[in-house]
Amino acid sequence: MNIIVCVKQVIDPEIPPVKFKIDPEKKEVVPPPGVPPVISVFDERAVEAACRLKDKQGGTITVISLGPEKASEVVKHSIAMGADEGYVLNDAAFEGLDSFGIAYVLSKAIAKIGAYDLVLCGRQSADWGSGQVGSILAEILGIPVVTLACDIEAADKNIKVKRVVKDGYEMVEAPLPSLVTVSSELGLPRLPAGMRIMIAARKQVPVWKAADIGAEASELDKAHVEITKLSVPTRKTECEMIPGDSPDQAAENLAAKLAELL
C-alpha cells in the first residue's frame, strides 16, 4: 500500500502558557525564543497509522510538509518512525496561506509524487486547529474522506476505519484511494528504533518550490479566509460555594445549579 502523509511542524504545544505570545498587529503567533518546534501531535499519529499499515501490508510511505526549511526535521522524524521518503514544500509564495491554499499546494505535491492508495493527515493542526485541510484536500483530489480515525485496517481493496464520534465509535468502510484524518485516540506513536534513527538523522530532505510542483500564483493568491482579530482570551475564574445543611442537601443544590447553568 502506498501511503502519503501530510505533516506540519508547529510551535511546541508543551511550552508553559505564560510563554505563549502573539503579535496582535501582524495577527501572528510569536515563536518563543529557544524552544525547538515539533511535529504536530495528530500528524505524528497519522505517520504512526501509516507505519502500522506498512507493517502489515508492506508498501511505501512518503511524507510531505509545507513549512519553513526547518520543517525537514519533522520529515526526518517521520522517516525515523518508518517513512521511506519525504519532501519539504517551501516557497515565499506559500507564506500566509489559508486552509484552501495549503490544501492546493499539498495536492500539487501529491500529483508530483504520483500514484498512491491512501493519504493521511492529522485531524487538525496542533497550532491553529482549523481541521479543514484534510477534507478540502480530499475534495481537490476527488477522493472520499473519512475523518477522526482512531484505527485503520486494510480490507482487500478497501479500508475499514474506526471513527471517534461524540458518544462512541463508528465503523466506516471506504474504497481506495481515500483520505483519512487521524485523531490522537489512535494511541502512542512508536519510538524511532533500531538504525532508523541514525538513517533519518543523516538524510538529506529535498525541498520543493512552487515551480517544482507547478503551483500557480493565481491559485495561491486566492484567499478564502481573512483573520480579523487575533487575541489571547483573558481567563476569569469565579468560585461560588454552593451551600447545604448536609452533604446530601449540598449535592442537591449543586445539581440544581448545574441544571440551571447548562
Binding site: 508553559p16 510563554k19 529557544g34 522524524h77 524511532p192 541514525m198
Partner: protein
C-alpha cells in the same frame, strides 16, 4: 611407606592412584572445556590491555583477600571468615600437591617424609585446620541459624561446609594413624601427634592401625579429587574463575558501555545469551551466591521483583541449558526466551543503575551493563518499553531533553538579563563552561539551584560562560534506558558544540552530566576536563576565593548521589565544603558514602514508573534521613533533590524537613549579615 607403595588385591597402589586421578582430572577438564567453549560464544571484548596492571590488581585483590575484606562491616564480618578459609585452604592445597602428589603419586615420599619441612608444614596445617574449622562453624551458624537476608540455606553451601570439615578432620587422622602405625614418637604436628599418642595407648595391633591408616589415606585422596570434579559443577566454580574475573574487570568506568557500531544489524543489545560479551558470561560463572548485591539493591529493598543476584544466576542457568545446542550450531525453539522467561521485563526496568550491586560484589561481576544491554534490545530491536519510558525517550528524540511540560525555559529566558552572564553565541570562545544540564535549566526547583550556582561562581570571580539554548540534554537518560542511537546523536552534537567554542573545562551541577561527559563522551570523540561543582567549590574555599562565614543553624545530613559517589569516588569534597561552614555539623546516615542508598532517580527511573504496589525508592531513603534527626538533607544532584522534595511532600513533613542543594547551603553561608 606411603600407602601408594602398597599393593591392593594384586593391583599396585600407583596404578590405582593414577587411574583415579586420570578419571577425576578428565571429568574436571571436560567440564572446564565445556564452560570455556560456552564463554567463547559471547561477543569479543578487549580486556587484555594493560596486562601488568591487571595482574597486579588481581594479586592484590586475591592474595591478601582484599576482595572480601573490603566488604566487611560491623554487621557483616563474613569477609574475614572467607579470608581465613581462603588462606587456610591455600595451604592445604599446597600440601595436597606436595604430600599427596609429589610424595605419593610421584613416589618421593622417602625424600619428604619426616623431614623438618614436613613437620613444620604439618604443624602449620594443624593450626590452619583449626582456623578453617572455626570459620566453617561460624559460617554454618550464620547461614542456618542466624539467617541474614543475603544468605539462603542452600544444598551446595551445606555440601561444601561438610566436605571441608571432613577434610580438616581426616587430615589429622591421616597423620595420627600414620604415626601410630609406624610407631613414630613426635610432639609435632600437635593434633596429629596427639592423636597418634592416643592411638598408641589403645593397644590396637600394628596391622589394624596400618589398615586404618591406608583406608583413611585413600578416603582423603578420593574426597580431594572428588572435590576437583565437583567444583566446576557447582557455585564453587567461583574458586577457579573469580581471580580471572577480577583480572578482566574494567579498568576505566565501572559500567563499561560501548557505542553500537553503525552497521545495519538485525538485532541490537542482548536478545539471546550469546549477544553478551564473553566477560559477561565469565561473570555468570564467578558468582558465589553471596547475596551482597541482592541485600543492597534499592529496587529489591523497596519490594521490586528485581534482584541482581537472581539476574546473574538465571542467566547462568540459561547459558548452561541452551549451551549444548548453541555449541552444536543449532538454535532451539523450545528453549525459554531470555527476555521474558529468564529475566522479566519488570525486572529489567526496575534498575536505577545505582551501582550498589557492583560495589559490594567481591568477584567484580558487572551487573549493570547486562541490564542496559537487555534494555537496548527491548528499545532498539523490539520497540518494547513501559509507556512512561516511551514518553520520556520520545521527548529526548523530539525535544532534545526528557522534560515535557516544562516549567521554565533554558537560559535565554527572563532571569539571565539581571545576572550578566556570558551566553555563548555563534563564534564565541570560552575556556570554562558552566554546563547547566537539562534538569537544572528546565525544572522550577532545580533552576533555583542553578541561579544560586551562578551567583556563587560570580562571587568567587570564576570566569565562565553558558550555552543557553544550544545546550541539549547530555543524553544520560537515553543511554541508561537503552536508547543508544539517540544518545549517540546527542553526544556527537554536544561534543561538536564544545569544540566549536573551544571549551577546555566543563563545570556541572549534575553528577549524571558529570559522569556522562567525563567518562562516556571520550568514546564519541570528546575528551574534556570535567569538574563537579562540589570539587570546584571545595577548591575555591581552599584557595580562599570563597569564604563561608555565615553560621548555619540547621542540622544537616548529606546524601551521597550514586553517580557522584560510587560512580566517581567523590565523597570527600562535598563534606569538606559543608564542614568549612562555621558551626555546621553533618549527621551521617548509616547508609552513606559507598553504601549510600539510591534516591531512585537514576537509570531513567526519574521518569519510568516503578512497579505498582511497592514502596517508592525515595520513600525508603527518606526514612534514612529522618533517622538522623536532621532538619535539612543536603545533596549535590538535581534528581536527588527532586526525589527528596517529592518524598517530603508525600509524607507531609515540610515543616520538619527541608531538602537543599549543596550550592544553596553554600550561598546561604556566604551571605554577609
Amino acid at each position: 611407606m606411603s600407602p601408594v607403595n602398597a599393593t591392593y588385591w594384586g593391583i599396585p597402589g600407583y596404578a590405582i592412584f593414577w587411574v583415579l586421578f586420570a578419571v577425576a582430572f578428565g571429568l574436571f577438564a571436560w567440564r572446564l572445556r565445556f564452560l570455556f567453549r560456552l564463554m567463547r560464544l559471547g561477543k569479543p571484548q578487549n580486556r587484555f590491555d594493560h596486562m601488568i596492571k591487571r595482574i597486579k590488581t588481581m594479586l592484590v585483590e586475591v592474595v591478601p583477600q582484599w576482595c572480601n575484606l573490603k566488604t566487611v562491616t560491623r554487621k557483616d564480618i563474613a569477609g574475614v571468615g572467607h579470608a581465613l578459609m581462603f588462606w587456610g585452604f591455600s595451604l592445604f592445597l599446597l600440601s595436597y600437591i606436595i604430600f599427596i602428589g609429589l610424595a605419593g603419586g610421584f613416589g618421593l615420599s622417602s625424600v619428604i617424609e619426616q623431614t623438618t619441612f614436613e613437620i613444620v608444614f604439618f604443624s602449620i596445617l594443624d593450626i590452619a585446620g583449626i582456623m578453617v574449622t572455626l570459620a566453617l562453624v561460624l559460617a554454618a551458624i550464620r547461614r542456618y541459624i542466624i539467617r541474614p537476608t543475603r544468605l539462603e540455606p542452600s544444598g551446595e553451601a551445606a555440601i561444601i561446609l561438610v566436605l571441608v570439615f571432613f577434610l580438616m578432620v581426616v587430615n589429622v587422622a591421616v597423620v595420627g594413624f600414620g604415626y601410630a602405625a609406624h610407631d613414630i614418637q613426635a610432639s609435632w604436628p600437635p593434633l596429629g601427634s596427639a592423636l597418634a599418642g592416643y592411638l598408641s595407648g589403645t593397644g590396637l595391633a600394628q596391622g589394624t592401625l596400618e589398615g586404618v591408616y591406608q583406608g583413611v589415606w585413600w578416603l582423603h585422596y578420593i574426597v580431594i579429587i572428588g572435590f576437583m570434579v565437583y567444583i566446576p559443577r557447582s557455585k564453587h566454580l567461583h574458586i577457579l574463575v573469580s581471580p580471572a574475573n577480577i583480572l578482566f574487570r574494567p579498568l576505566g568506568p565501572k559500567v563499561e558501555l560501548e557505542p553500537i557500531p553503525l552497521e545495519e544489524a538485525e538485532s541490537f543489545g542482548a536478545g539471546k545469551i550469546q549477544d553478551f560479551k564473553w566477560k559477561d558470561l565469565l561473570d555468570l560463572y564467578s558468582c558465589a551466591v553471596c547475596g551482597r548485591c541482592h541485600a543492597n539493591c534499592p529496587a529489591q529493598l523497596s519490594g521490586k521483583t528485581l534482584s541482581p543476584r537472581e539476574v546473574v544466576l538465571n542467566l547462568k542457568e540459561h547459558l548452561l541449558e541452551t549451551g549444548p545446542e548453541l555449541l552444536a550450531g543449532k538454535t532451539s525453539d523450545k528453549s525459554k526466551t531470555m527476555i521474558g522467561d529468564v529475566v522479566t521485563e519488570e525486572e529489567i526496568w526496575a534498575c536505577t543503575t545505582c551501582g550498589a550491586c557492583q560495589e559490594e560484589c567481591p568477584v567484580s561481576i558487572e551487573h549493570i551493563r547486562k541490564i542496559i544491554e537487555l534494555r537496548r534490545n527491548l528499545v532498539l530491536t523490539q520497540g518494547k518499553m513501559p509507556e512512561s519510558a516511551q514518553l520520556m525517550l520520545g521527548n529526548m528524540q523530539l525535544r532534545g531533553h526528557p522534560w515535557a511540560g516544562v516549567q521554565s525555559l533554558r537560559l535565554r529566558g527572563d532571569w539571565t538579563s539581571d545576572l550578566d552572564i556570558k551566553v555563548l553565541a555563534e563564534g564565541d570562545k570560552a575556556k570554562t563552561l558552566f554546563w547547566v544540564g537539562c534538569t537544572g535549566a528546565l525544572v522550577e526547583r532545580n533552576v533555583e539551584a542553578t541561579l544560586a550556582m551562578t551567583r556563587v561562581l560570580k562571587a568567587a570571580g570564576v570566569d565562565f560562560a553558558v550555552l543557553g539554548d544550544a545546550e541539549t540534554c547530555c543524553g544520560d537518560p537515553a543511554r541508561r534506558a537503552g536508547y543508544e542511537f539517540q544518545f549517540q546523536i546527542m553526544a556527537e552534537q554536544n561534543i561538536e558544540t564544545f569544540k566549536k567554542h573551544g571549551i577546555k573545562e566543563i563545570v556541572t551541577t549534575c553528577p549524571h552530566c558529570y559522569n556522562t561527559i567525563k567518562n562516556e563522551y571520550p568514546s564519541y570523540g570528546g575528551k574534556f576536563k570535567v569538574v563537579h561543582y562540589s570539587q570546584l567549590i571545595a577548591d575555591l574555599i581552599g584557595q580562599g576565593k570563597l569564604k563561608l562565614n555565615q553560621e548555619i543553624s540547621a542540622r544537616l545530613t548529606y546524601h551521597d548521589p550514586c553517580y557522584l559517589g560510587r560512580y566517581n569516588g567523590v565523597y570527600q569534597e562535598p563534606r569538606r565544603v559543608l564542614q568549612s561552614i562555621p558551626k555546621a555539623g553533618i549527621e551521617e546516615m548509616e547508609r552513606s558514602r559507598k553504601k549510600s542508598f539510591c534516591c531512585g532517580g537514576g537509570g531513567g527511573l526519574m521518569w519510568i514508573e516503578e512497579q505498582p504496589g511497592t514502596t517508592k525508592v525515595n520513600h525508603v531513603r527518606i526514612e534514612d534521613v529522618l533517622k538522623t534527626g536532621a532538619d535539612t538533607v543536603v545533596t549535590a544532584c538535581p534528581y536527588c533533590l527532586q526525589m527528596f522534595e517529592e518524598g517530603i511532600e508525600n509524607k507531609d513533613i515540610k515543616d520538619s524537613l527541608k531538602a537543599k542543594d549543596l550550592v544553596e547551603i553554600v550561598e546561604a553561608a556566604m551571605k554577609q549579615s
